[in-house]
Symmetry: C2
Subunit: 338 residues, 2 copies
Amino acid sequence: MADLVNIAVDAMGGDNAPGEIVKGAVLALDKAKDLKVTLVGREDDVRKELSNYTYDPNRIDVVHASEVIEMAEPPVMAVRNKKDSSLVKCMYLVKEGKCDALVTAGSTGAFLVGGQIIVGRIKGVERPPLAPFIPTVNGRCLLLDCGANVDARPTQLVQFAKIGSAYAKKVCGIASPRVGIVNIGAEEEKGNALVKETFPLLKATPEINFIGSVEARDIPYGAADVVVCEAFTGNVILKMYEGVGSALLKSMKDAFMSTTRSKIGAALAKPALKKTLKAYDVNQYGGAPLLGCNGLIVKTHGSSKAVSITNSILQCKTFADQNINDDIREMFSISTDI
Amino acid sequence: MADLVNIAVDAMGGDNAPGEIVKGAVLALDKAKDLKVTLVGREDDVRKELSNYTYDPNRIDVVHASEVIEMAEPPVMAVRNKKDSSLVKCMYLVKEGKCDALVTAGSTGAFLVGGQIIVGRIKGVERPPLAPFIPTVNGRCLLLDCGANVDARPTQLVQFAKIGSAYAKKVCGIASPRVGIVNIGAEEEKGNALVKETFPLLKATPEINFIGSVEARDIPYGAADVVVCEAFTGNVILKMYEGVGSALLKSMKDAFMSTTRSKIGAALAKPALKKTLKAYDVNQYGGAPLLGCNGLIVKTHGSSKAVSITNSILQCKTFADQNINDDIREMFSISTDI
């Protein structure tokens, strides 16, 4: 059993814990054979949920954690004080090499703090970026940083570009991912102070295929494979994706239901539409990894259901199988000056 | 004829000039009786377009301008050197009180520069913000600044909030518009340095109804009537609106056309859907005014068709009728300390 990839899962994190989390973990085992899950949380609660399913007991471990970090807790204090929380215990399982990766739907703040303090950064990485995939009309693009480092400096954005590039190469199988910087116009002289300072640095980074500025409008059209920005902007982009998409769909559903004629139309168009709408679900690609840490750690949406947990676990397995962190380590061992 | 509102229209600005611009101007005259339009551009070209329509010659003036500012020209140089351009001439018509407002689909950069340099700022206003309405599930919200001032300071954001509040009060008829600041979380301690510094200033501004942080995800759901941010973020929000909306609709159209069944469904649902999709068109509310200038000046999308020009002209008429600038002047004469 030594070659099973072992993923630590925070069974108590998120709005739907532990029920959906445990369910998602069991489903993941069905989808990948050489996978093991370590569920971390209140043992009684976790075992109770597990009793609803049939599963291979050799492929699920339960590690008891008496505490839970709540969403609203100040992150630094929570990570420091709640040593027996499910999230902190997951972090230590990765740090100590007992697990290969972790997935949590819990507090983003505690996840970011724990990732940096407990799991730690790869040597040379200043600030690990949170890097989800977002959907485009013809595929997906990697957005980083989308929440970890507001007010990041230009050299940090260059690191995001390098890390994102290494990651997209492996995960998407693109030989030379196109890296763009979010800007308010296509011309080089446009932008705020941060973008103007970062632009020439990116141009002078040989490890990446920098294609210049990308306007927010063009991101959904697949203008770049890797989109770099500081975390405030990245968060706004991600949240606008969710907000505009869901608001538009809500209004369209209301429109479909408004007349008998449109109801019939909706019923007929449903199968074709469903596929399209699924392609725009921001959560389809699993969670967002905090890249550049000494371990694979992934945050999924707080409202994650079982399917998101399953996808995130499978995503972690891919990370582990592809040794992505080795690529990032290699990139930063070549040029430690940035 | 003295009480006609006179709108200067840059007949040469935008991708579809002069054809769609002239058409939009003529259509506007049909929609509002006490309105006059001054078309500024190459007289021969403008008169040729006008010859396609029937209109009241007393309500259309043509002012000749031999030059055109192109989209890619460096804005400051263009405004300084092209004194006989259609845009600069429009600006002077407003500055000299010969016209009540102006509409252009031309270069945004030249528009921003000309607004500040030629038309000038209302006393006390540091940096006029560009302020479009964006659609929400149940109406619209005013987004400012969406492009004029990147790297704006906290005191400038407070000005945006005050100006936006005065504007939304009049235009939307809301007694006490809810003002929110764009943030990456709802809690007061979240945000980048700019937001953290601006937040307490907004709380301490008695002229506005400050409701705190607004996450980008909630903007399309109508979380605030007035949404304040610096221009880089505002531009990203506006462009994401356009990008996600249009990409999603494109994919849905493809889905509708993918099978015979879905084609029939689409035909049936079309009337109901059309209304909904129109409600999400970012350009439906006319253009974006640069608020806080000594005159009403409005920028519409570079790709504007006649209907956008018509809407923007009618929007200018509303501005003029409601004396919105008097409200902004009054607000800044009370507290000139910010």
